[in-house]
Each structure stands twice: as C-alpha cells, then as structure tokens.
Amino acid sequence: MTEKFETHEQDVLVIGAGGAGLRAAIEALAQGVSVGVVCKSLLGKAHTVMAEGGIAAAMANVDSADNWRTHFRDTMRGGKMLNNWRMAQLHAQEAPDRVRELEQWGALFDRTQDGQILQRAFGGHTFRRLCHVGDRTGLEMIRTLQDRGVQQGFDVYMECTVVRLLKDGPRCAGALAYWREQGRFVLFKAKSVVIATGGIGKAWRITSNSWEYTGDGMALAYEAGAELMDMEFVQFHPTGMVWPPGVQGILVTEAVRGEGGILRNKNGERFMERYDPKRMELSTRDVVARSIYTEVREGRGTEHGGAYLDISHKPAEYVKRKLPSMYHQFKELADVDITKGPMEVGPTCHYMMGGIRVEAETAQSSVPGLFAAGEAAAGLHGSNRLGGNSLSDLLVFGCRAGLAAAKHAREVSSATLDAAQIEQSEREALAPFQRQAGESPYAIHRDLQELMQNLVGIYRNREDVQRALLEIEKFKKRLEVVSVEGSRMFNPGWHLALELKAMLTVAEAVARSALVREESRGAHSRIDFPDLDPVWGTKNNIVRQEGGAMALRQNPISEIPAELKQILAEDK
C-alpha cells in the first residue's frame, strides 16, 4: 500500500531546519550519506532566526582568563547540577571550534579591536563569552548554515509536517508527513532520523515562541517509545514585552542587560539588589524571572504589570548599533524610544530544558536509529539554561547527532515500512474532516494556553498542577471530537488540530513531572516546596509511554568524575 504515497528515501532524515537540524544535516552530508531535511516552515524561518544575544563559547577573545572549564562550571551551576555532566563538558569544550567553523563558512560576527570575534557579557557567565552580531545572531547563524547546506546538496522538504515516526521492529525507519500546501501525505524512508524540532512554548499563552513550537518532535519520539526527561523545567525568560496586548510575550533580548540595562520597579528601586546583589541584572534567568514576577505580585509592578528595563543611560548611537532590532521593535510596536526611556518587560515562556533523553556522545535516544539535538533534546541545561548556551548547544550537538546518525545509517540495512502504521496514522489525521459541528481547534488551543499559563507557570503548587492534569484529560476528549472546516489545501485549522495532540502530550508530561518534583530547582518553583532538596538533586524525571499511558520514573544521575568535580569546586 505504500506505493500509493509519494516516497523519498534517505540515509539520514532530519526533522526540523533550525540551527540543530541544519548543523546535523551538514555533518551527515560531510560523511558521504544522503540527507533529507523536513521542516514545517520555509527554509530559513525556523525559530533560531529569533535568537538574539549570541553564541556562548569560551574563546577568550575578550577575557583572556576564560576557558572550557569555567564555561562548564557556569553551565552546571546555572542548571543547578541537574545537567548531564558529560554533555556540559563536551559542549564547553567543542563550542569554540563550532563557532570558528561558522566564521569559515562565511558568518560575520562583530569584531574586537584586534580583529577577533567580539564577545559580550550574559547572565550566569563568569566571563564575556557570547559571540554575537548586534542582536541578530540567530539570523546570521541560520543563514550561514542554510547556505552551507544548500551548496553541499541536501534535499529540503519545506512546509511539510511529520505526523508519525515509523518503526521497523524496535528501530526507527522513517516518517509519515503531509505537505502543508496540498494536504497530501508523503513517506520518508530513512535508516537514521534526527529530531531537531525545537520546543513547546505554544502551549502557554504568553510566549516568545512561534506557531511551530508545539512539541511535535518530543511527542513523535514519545509515541515511538523514546524517553522524555526533565519535562518539568520550562524556562520563562525574564524579559518579554508586556504592552501593547498584541505584542505580549515577544522577546526582549538578554543582551539589553548584557550591554548594561538596569531593571527597576514602579518606585524606581533597582530591585535585583534584593534578590541577587552579586550578579544583579546578570543573574540567571530563573532568578530574574521570579524576581520580576514577585515585584509585580507584591504591587510594585509597572502600569501594565511588568518591570522597567532601562538602557537609555548609554549613548543613543551605541544602543542603536548594538541593539538595533530592539530599538526598532519598541519604536514600531510600542511607541517607545529605548534610547530615551525604559521598556516595560515581564516573564514570557521561552525555552524547554527538558526533552528527548539522549546519549551525550551520540545524541541517540532510547530508540535505535532515532537521534535528537537542540531544544528537542534534554540534558545539557539541567534545570535552567544560561543565555547563549542554546545556540552553542545547536552547533555542538547538532554536529554530533549528524555524525552519529550518518555512522548508524552506514552500519544498518534498509528498513521496511509498515503499511498498517501508515494507514492508521492517515486515518487519524483525516478524522477531523469527517466530523461535523465539533469544536474548533482554536478554542481548545486557547483554553490549553490559559490553563498552562495559570496552573503550570513560573510558580507551581500541588493543587494547581493536579487540576491541570484533570483538565488536560478533558482537553483530550475535546480533541477527539474536534472538527475542521474547508479543504486539505493549506488549512491552518487542520494543522493546529494535529499539533494539538502533540501539545497535549507535552503539557501532560510537564505537569506530571512538575507534580512529583517536590522541591524548587532552577526553572521549577514549587510554592509548597520552596527549597532545594538534595535528594531530588540526584535524579532526573523520565517520562515514557507504557501500555498506552504515560509512565513516570526517576533515573539516578551518574557519578561526576573526580576531575570534573574538582572544576566544580573551584571558585574562579
């Protein structure tokens, strides 16, 4: 029956065309295997394009004392030691080479006086470490990778959404997808599959994430039997726009603080003095987000429920040169000139530390032939990610995933696709068209966003999360009778109906994990358990599908080797 579908066969199939996916594809191509890249949007529009501040890499161009050890320590401390220490080590060691590689492929970073890549300060980083291009580093990165990949010759399937990973026995054998344009199904047969689909922010109401961030990759992997890890750790970026309503949640780069921006409450107090007097505005994101939230809750918020972020004490020309897109964003969308006065900012759902559990060296998941990198994978960031560590994560582990996926593809024989899996998924995907007068997917989505915002947000407690889990069960029932209007041609309502399934899966995983972790650590803050619990510091939450239901267990964190322990113990 597979002959009725358009079918493409590749050694390596990469799902997602952001930084991790493109870097994986480039590395796999370099190994001489065939590579296909499937992405939901047009090439070059992935979420990486919105990354602003920079790529963290201990190149020591500005602060000569910097080295991988300090970067490793900063990352582990930022993640409250829940990180996969081996990933944190590899990341710190390999990031500088990955950045230099970008430069050799044509990226043009801002320069130091002596002609090297310029690095800026960022929260939680001991040294000035973020290689950047003004406040559009992500754009530079994605364009560089995109051009490299196109010239090397990967096949790109744009505006194509994967609905199911196909399996041949225990191993991953490919994917079933549909073309967004015509609504036709298409089969991808592959020996290795790399998931690089990013995060899950669209399950919250206030988010910096685009429509693509619906947790597809994590849900696909979960359905295919892979394990998800650390799902309770959702990063709320401290500074999103809060006014006007339409722009609520849009990111205000941490580079504003990196360049000297100051946070104040409505009384003009520099409140970070009370929360983290040492690091102030450049504290870690979890701390700054909670601080702003607390100021607002205790009645010291701004007119529109945020804090003031001010960079206007710097020369106007400097602000426009180093933060050009922030300047335009506020001028055009909020009528605020940031060279003259403060911005109003508040927390926004931004990044997922949790995701698919992978091996540090190979980025392989618990399913043979299934790899994951970037935001879709878990481990590197522990309970809280440092700014700038995302772009470097994409490069380091994208590269590793591509390498391992190519190696795996060369070692295994061609897989067989199972017609029954395909038929079942096709039927399920088309079901919303058969139903009449069901609910609109947009209504369910709005309710889910409101629920996650209110009950599984920055601060959590047992009652709220339990209620959220009950509600999610109701949403699942509502999704079973969702109906969509119109044809299969480029139909966003239908697309959303399919993405809702993934969002509900990840929302449930977040809530379940958040419920059992009875402590506060990094981005996970329990009002009913406000302190760190050393016992919880020794284990990760693991979510997995068992007998059609979501099962949760804890994995002990492996012992940190002595030489790394020593690095962690050092002060500088």
Binding site: S41, L42, L43, K45, A46, H47, V49, M50, R100, Q104, W105, G106, L108, D110, R111, D114, G115, Q116, L118, V133, R136, G138, L139, R143, D147, R148, V150, Q151, M158, E181, S210, W211, E212, W243, P244, P245, G246, V247, I250, L251, S325, H328, Q329, E332, L333, D335, S440, P441, Y442, R446, V484, E485, G486, M489, F490, N491, P492, G493, W494, L496
Partner: protein, 246 residues
C-alpha cells in the same frame, strides 16, 4: 469595542474574491493580529504564513492597502479605519491559497550563487570597519518584499533573466566579505540580469530592515561589472594580450 473591517483575498491559483471580516481592535494591534483573530474566530482555514511576529523572520509579507508590508509590523492604528483594510497576497508570486504565495523561485535563484570561499592563505583576522558593509546586507530577513515590488519582476515578469534585489543584496554581502576569494560579476552580468535594474529604488523603499539596497548593494555591483567588462583601458589591454573579459 472599536472594530475594523478587514477585506482579505480568499482563493487560490484559479482565482478568488475579497471577503470582509469584522475584527475587534485592541491597542497597538498589528494587521497579523487581525488575521489571527479571523483564523481563531471566523475562518479557521484562512491561509497565512507567519513565524516570529517580531519582524525577524520575514514570513508574513502581504500587500496592505496596496502597499507591500510585513503584516506583523503594520499597526492597525496607522491605517484609516473608515474603510476596509485591504490585505492581498504578494502580486509577483503565484497564489497558493489566500495570502500564501509560491516563493520557491527565490530558492532556485539562490542555488545559482557560488558560496563564500576564503582566499587561499587568508588570515582570520579582520576589523569591524571591514565587516560593516556586509553586515548591512546580512540583515536581510528574506521577506521577499523587494522582489515583490521590483518592476522587472512585478510588471515584466522577467523571472528567468533576473535574480531580483534580494539576491543582489546577498551577492553584495559575499563580494564585500573581507576574505572572500570568488568573483560573481560574470554571473551577475550573464545570468542574473543585473543590467535590467534601472535603479528606481522601489526595493529600498519597502525594505523592513532599511537596507540601502540600491545605493549600497546594486550600484556598487554594477560598478564592479562595468570595471571588469567595460573599462576601455582594460579592453585595449585585453585585445592586445588576447585575454578575454570573463
């Protein structure tokens, strides 16, 4: 609550018609917010491309009241509300559905451009003043509004002979890279139709990134082509020495 009427093109390659929707207005609302409202409440199958909603990805291009714009950066309070806000797809590209157009031609053109290649023995040390110019071009978010408005494409449909402003900007970024060792001038002259541009600056006017497309990218590229192929002194030298001009 105040309302706006939005008149949206609904249809596909075989034609369509404008459809009016009433949309409640909130402070600071942009046209894309209006489109999302329509999707969420009135027409769930309305086809729109968008991603970042912050002017960084260049996905949500359309023609608003006849002017090519990013809908995420077009404030509704900047438009007259006594008549409908008319939103149409970009004219220079074939319609797929509603506001979504087929921009695949751009990706095909892009493939023709030789990538950055460092000069042999290049030293990886260069200064901010060396990269300022290329960095301007690398701000491009590929919204394709410049392609949409360029009359060589929009009115004369010269897609096969002409690469369009977006790709002249891209080439300028490569050519002015301090370490690049490839010349793309012959390609510009022979295959990408740089000569067809008669510098009306329409592209510069619509660029949301405020790249000086005509002055900083296209004119310097034209000068490079002229220098390489039409310099009278060089022409004489080449005649005598028997080398060709490309």
């Amino acid at each position: 609550m105040a309302e706006a009427t939005m008149q949206i093109f609904r249809g596909g390659p075989d034609g369509g018609k404008p459809v009016e929707y009433k949309v409640p207005i909130a402070p600071g609302m942009v046209v894309l917010d209006g489109l999302h409202y329509i999707q969420g409440h009135l027409a769930p199958d309305l086809a729109v491309r968008w991603n970042c909603k912050a002017g960084k990805c260049g996905s949500c291009s359309a023609e608003v009241n006849g002017r090519p714009r990013l809908t995420c950066k077009t404030r509704i309070d900047s438009l007259p509300l006594d008549k409908p806000i008319v939103v149409n797809p970009m004219k220079s590209f074939p319609v797929i559905k509603d506001l979504v157009t087929d921009v695949s031609w751009n990706y095909r053109v892009n493939k023709k451009i030789p990538p950055f290649q460092p000069r042999p023995g290049a030293e990886w040390k260069f200064y901010q003043e060396d990269v300022d110019r290329s960095q301007e071009f690398r701000k491009c978010i590929e919204c394709f509004l410049c392609q949409n408005v360029c009359h060589v494409l929009r009115d004369h449909d010269n897609h096969e002979q002409f690469a369009g402003p977006r790709f002249f900007v891209r080439i300028a970024g490569l050519e002015m890279h301090p370490l690049d060792g490839v010349s793309r001038t012959k390609l510009l002259r022979d295959e990408l139709g740089l000569g067809l541009c008669n510098i009306t600056k329409c592209c510069t006017e619509v660029c949301p990134e405020e790249i000086h497309i005509t002055d900083n990218a296209i004119i310097p590229l034209k000068e490079r082509v002229v220098d390489q192929f039409y310099d009278p002194l060089l022409w004489v030298v080449r005649k005598i020495s028997g080398t060709s001009g490309g």
